[in-house]
C-alpha cells in the first residue's frame, strides 16, 4: 500500500505541476496577471483582462469604446471632454459588449458614453465559438464559473508554445498604453501586406448563419434599450472596411440587410462604403484593420461633428437614421454599379 500511495503521490504531483503550476506561471493569455500583462507571444484575453482592470479601477474612466480588434485603433485620448477607455478586444461581438455593459452596471460603473463599432464580424461570428477559446472567452463566462476558468486556462500545451517567445523575448507589449488608453495600434503603422500581390484577400470572419445574424441584431437592440434605461449615451458606428472586405461583405454576407435592420433599431454613423478612405490601401494595415489616423477621423466626425465634404458625399461619416436609411443604402448600392 505504501508503495502504491508513493507512486500515486509522485504522479499526482507531476500532474499538478504540469496542469496547474506551469500554465499559471507562463499564463499566455495573461488572465492570472491582469494587473501586469506580459508579452507571451499570443494576444491576451483582452475581454477578461480589460474588464478585470476596469472593475478594479471603477472611477478611472467614464466612457468606453467597444468593438472588435478593428476598433483597437481608436485612440481614446483624442475624445474630448471624456476619460475614455478603448474596451475593444479581438473578435468583439455585440453579445459580449452587452454582457460587459451589464457587468459594469451591476458593479456600479455608470458610463456617460458608450461607443460601439460594428461591421460584418458582428453578425457573422457565432459567440458560442468564443466560449471555448482562451483568447476570446468572455469575462462574464469566466467570472461566473471559476472551475471552467481554471480548466480553460490551465492548459500546458498553449503554455509550451508561449515558452519560445518568452525565452527569446521576441514579443513586446506597451503596458502603459494598454492600461491608460486600451488601444494597441500606434500611428504611422506600416502595412503588413504587399498590396501589389495577387494574394490580397478580403477578411471575412465567421459563417453566414441566420440565427447568428438575428441574435446579433437582437443584442444590439437590447444594448440600445439598456443604455436608454440607464441614461447612457450610446453611439454606434460602422467600421470603414477595406473596399475588398466591404465588397465581399456586401456580395456574400448580407451586409446591406444588416445596415437596414440596424437603422430600424438605432441611428448610427456610417463609415463603410466605397470612398476615398476605403479605396486607399495607405489607410489600412491589411484588409481588416484601418490605421489609427482613420480612427482619428472617425472620432472627429462623431465627437466634434466634423464633416469631410468629399468623403461625406461618398458615405463616410453620414449619420444614418430611420428617415434617411433607405435613401442612404440605395446610394451605397448605386456605388457598386
Amino acid at each position: 500500500m505504501k508503495k502504491f500511495l508513493l507512486k500515486v503521490s509522485f504522479f499526482a504531483v507531476y500532474a499538478f505541476l504540469l496542469q496547474v503550476v506551469f500554465p499559471i506561471m507562463i499564463d499566455p493569455y495573461n488572465v492570472f496577471h491582469t494587473e501586469h500583462i506580459r508579452a507571451n507571444g499570443v494576444d491576451c484575453n483582452k475581454n477578461y483582462v480589460k474588464m478585470k482592470y476596469i472593475l478594479n479601477n471603477p472611477e478611472r474612466f467614464d466612457s468606453f469604446v467597444f468593438g472588435s480588434s478593428r476598433v483597437g485603433v481608436i485612440h481614446t485620448e483624442k475624445i474630448p471632454g471624456e476619460r475614455a477607455y478603448n474596451m475593444a478586444y479581438t473578435g468583439g461581438l455585440p453579445s459580449e459588449h452587452l454582457a460587459n455593459i451589464k457587468t459594469f452596471l451591476k458593479n456600479n460603473i455608470h458610463p456617460v458614453k458608450i461607443y460601439i463599432g460594428v461591421d460584418s464580424v458582428s453578425y457573422m461570428v457565432d459567440p458560442e465559438m468564443h466560449i471555448s477559446s482562451q483568447m476570446h472567452c468572455p469575462y462574464e463566462y469566466l467570472a461566473d464559473d471559476p472551475y471552467y476558468f481554471f480548466t480553460l486556462y490551465c492548459n500546458p500545451l498553449i503554455a509550451f508554445e508561449s515558452l519560445k517567445t518568452i525565452l527569446t523575448k521576441k514579443s513586446e507589449v506597451d503596458t502603459d498604453t494598454f492600461y491608460q488608453y486600451g488601444w494597441w495600434y500606434k500611428y504611422n503603422q506600416e502595412s503588413k501586406i504587399d498590396w501589389e500581390s495577387e494574394n490580397v484577400k478580403p477578411t471575412i470572419l465567421g459563417i453566414l448563419n441566420d440565427k447568428v445574424f438575428r441574435n446579433a441584431l437582437n443584442d444590439i437592440k437590447e444594448t440600445v434599450r439598456l443604455c436608454r434605461e440607464n441614461s447612457i449615451e450610446l453611439i454606434i458606428f460602422t467600421n470603414p472596411m477595406h473596399n475588398i472586405t466591404y465588397m465581399a461583405s456586401v456580395k456574400d454576407c448580407r451586409y446591406f440587410e444588416f445596415l437596414e435592420e440596424l437603422s430600424s433599431i438605432t441611428e448610427f454613423y456610417n463609415f463603410s462604403s466605397l470612398n476615398d478612405i476605403t479605396l486607399s490601401n495607405d489607410c489600412y494595415i491589411e484588409t481588416s484593420h484601418y490605421k489609427a489616423e482613420v480612427g482619428d477621423m472617425i472620432l472627429n466626425v462623431i465627437c466634434s461633428d466634423e464633416i469631410y465634404p468629399e468623403l461625406y458625399a461618398q458615405g463616410f461619416g453620414v449619420k444614418v437614421t430611420k428617415d434617411n436609411a433607405e435613401e442612404f443604402i440605395s446610394m451605397l448600392k448605386y456605388q457598386l454599379e
Binding site: 500500500m1 502504491f4 496542469q19 471555448s132 500546458p156
Partner: protein, 476 residues
C-alpha cells in the same frame, strides 16, 4: 457527480482510504454508504427509486427461493419484473407510449389527450433495473442463491463505479466479490489507475472534443449540408464509443482500486468484421444480458430460421427501445437486427484475414456510422434529412474544406483530433490480441513502464478539452 469532476477527485481518495483502513467486515457497508452518497449527489430523490427496486428484488428473490411451488415462483418473478420495469416504464416510456397510443386511436377517430408526465429521468435507472432483473431471474432459474443480507445485496445493486452507466454486472461475478475478503493488491491497484487514465483520455481528449462538433450539427441539423453532415456522423460514431468505453474503463479501473473486477464492456468494436462480431465487442454487458434474458428465452437460434430472425429482430428492437423512448432508437435497433438477419442469410462467418477482413471492417464501421445517425438525431425527420443531404453539393476540395469550416473546426483542432484518433486506433488495434496495460506493467525495463505512465498522464493533460459534458449513456 461526474467521474471527471473535482468532487469525484475528493470523493474517491476518501472512500479508498476508509475502505482499506477498516476491518473487512465493515467494507461492504463503506461501499453501500459511498454508493448511495454518490447516487444522491445527482438528485437526492433518486435514492427512493433505487431503494424501492432493491427492496422489491431482494424480497422477491428470497420468496422465490423459499417456495417450492413452480407456479408461485413464476408469479413472484412476474410481479417483481412488473414492479421493477414499472418504475422504468413510468419514468422513461409512459409519455412515449401514451403519445403513440393516442396517435393510433386517432386513426380510428377516437380522440384522446396523451398523458404527459413531467418526470426527470433518474440517472442510471435502465442499468440498475436490468441488474436487479438479472438477479431475480438468476435466482428463479437456480443459477444463483438468493442473498440473505440486505446490505450486501444493496451494495451489489448500487456499487458506485458501475451504478450510473454500467457495465450491467451479473450476480455471479460481482456479488461474491462484494462479500469476499480482499487484501490490497498493488498490481491490481496500479492496473486500475492506468485503466482509469486511459478512460479519461478517451473521454476528455476525444469524446468531449468531438461532442462540440457533432452537437453543433445535430442540434441544428437543417442549417447544415454536405460534408459537414458526414463529419458529424463520423464524429458521433467515435464520440459515443470513446464516451461510453471511457466511462467503462474508468469504472473498471476504479473498481480495481477496491479489489473488485468488473466485466469488460468493450473490446475494440470498430475492428469487427461483421455486425454479429460488433455486438460481441460493443456494450458487452448489455448484449449478453439481452442474449441471456430475451433472445435465448424466445428460442434463440434453436428454432426455425424464420423464428430465429424474428427473435433477432425482437431482441434488437427491445435493445433499441432500452436506449431511449423515441422511434429513432427503435429504428437504430431494427437496423442492427436486420443487418444480422441479412448476414446470417448471406454471409460466411468464417474468420477472414488481410484485405478481405479490412474491407469487412470498413463496411461494418460505415454501417454503424449510418445507424448512429438515427441514434443521435432528435427525430426521424432530422435523421432522414441528414441522409438526404449528406452528399449534396459539388464534391470537390472546397466541399471538404467547407465541411470543416461549417462545423467550426480549424486546422489546429483537426490536428488535435487526428493525433488522438491515431493513438486510439493504435491502442484498439493492439488490444485485439493483447492486454496493453498488462504487457507494459510486466515489462522488465522500469524506464519504459515509467515512460508509459508519464506519457499517458501527459496525453490526458495536454489534449483534454474543457467541458462539463455528461457521459452520453447517463441519459439511459
Amino acid at each position: 457527480m461526474l467521474f471527471n469532476s473535482w468532487q469525484f477527485g475528493i470523493f474517491l481518495p476518501i472512500v479508498f482510504a476508509v475502505y482499506w483502513s477498516i476491518p473487512q467486515r465493515f467494507r461492504c457497508f463503506v461501499i453501500l454508504v459511498s454508493s448511495y452518497w454518490f447516487y444522491m449527489s445527482w438528485n437526492i430523490k433518486y435514492v427512493t427509486l433505487i431503494l424501492f427496486t432493491t427492496i422489491i428484488s431482494f424480497t422477491s428473490a428470497i420468496l422465490i427461493e423459499r417456495t417450492d411451488n413452480q407456479r408461485t415462483k413464476k408469479f413472484i418473478l412476474t410481479s417483481a419484473v412488473i414492479a421493477c420495469l414499472g418504475v422504468l416504464f413510468t419514468f422513461k416510456y409512459v409519455n412515449f407510449f401514451s403519445e403513440n397510443l393516442v396517435y393510433i386511436l386517432n386513426l380510428f377517430t377516437i380522440h384522446l389527450h396523451p398523458i404527459t408526465l413531467k418526470l426527470l429521468l433518474p440517472v442510471g435507472i435502465s442499468f440498475y433495473t436490468f441488474q436487479t432483473l438479472g438477479y431475480v431471474i438468476d435466482v428463479y432459474r437456480g443459477d444463483t442463491k438468493a442473498e440473505k443480507n440486505f446490505g450486501i445485496y444493496a451494495a451489489f445493486i448500487s456499487f458506485f463505479p458501475q451504478l450510473v452507466a454500467g457495465p450491467i454486472e451479473r450476480t455471479n461475478n460481482l456479488m461474491p466479490q462484494i462479500k469476499a475478503h480482499h487484501e490490497f493488491n498493488y498490481e491490481q491497484a496500479v492496473y486500475g489507475m492506468k485503466l482509469m487514465t486511459w478512460g479519461f483520455f478517451k473521454k476528455l481528449c476525444i469524446a468531449d472534443v468531438l461532442a462540440v462538433y457533432s452537437d453543433r450539427v445535430f442540434n441544428d441539423v437543417y442549417s447544415f449540408k454536405g460534408f459537414a453532415l458526414i463529419l458529424a456522423a463520423f464524429f458521433f460514431t467515435i464520440q459515443i464509443y470513446c464516451d461510453f468505453s471511457g466511462y467503462s474503463d474508468i469504472a473498471r479501473g476504479c473498481s480495481k482500486l477496491f479489489g473488485i473486477e468488473l466485466m469488460q464492456n468493450f473490446r475494440s468494436p470498430y475492428f469487427s468484421s461483421s455486425i454479429k462480431e460488433f455486438w460481441s465487442r460493443w456494450h458487452i454487458s448489455l448484449s449478453t444480458w439481452f442474449r441471456d434474458y430475451v433472445y435465448i428465452p424466445l428460442g434463440g437460434n434453436r428454432v426455425s430460421r424464420f423464428r430465429h430472425n424474428v427473435n433477432l429482430m425482437i431482441t434488437f428492437i427491445v435493445s433499441g427501445l432500452w436506449h431511449g423512448a423515441n422511434w429513432t432508437f427503435v429504428i437504430w435497433g431494427s437496423l442492427h437486427g436486420f443487418a444480422q438477419v441479412i448476414e446470417n442469410a448471406f454471409m460466411n462467418h468464417n474468420e477472414t484475414h488481410g484485405i478481405k477482413r479490412a474491407f469487412r471492417v470498413v463496411c461494418v464501421f460505415v454501417f454503424c456510422m449510418f445507424a448512429w445517425v438515427f441514434f443521435r438525431a432528435n427525430n426521424i425527420n432530422e435523421a432522414l434529412y441528414v441522409f438526404m443531404n449528406m452528399f449534396s453539393g459539388t464534391i470537390n476540395t472546397a466541399w471538404f474544406r467547407n465541411g470543416f469550416k461549417y462545423v467550426y473546426m480549424n486546422m489546429r483542432n483537426l490536428m488535435h483530433v487526428s493525433f488522438c484518433l491515431i493513438v486510439l486506433f493504435i491502442w484498439d488495434y493492439l488490444s485485439l490480441k493483447r492486454d496493453i496495460i498488462s504487457r507494459i506493467t510486466s515489462c522488465r525495463v522500469p524506464a519504459l513502464r515509467f515512460a508509459f505512465c508519464i506519457g499517458l498522464i501527459s496525453l490526458v493533460i495536454l489534449f483534454r478539452t474543457i467541458s462539463n459534458a455528461v457521459f452520453v449513456y447517463f441519459q439511459f
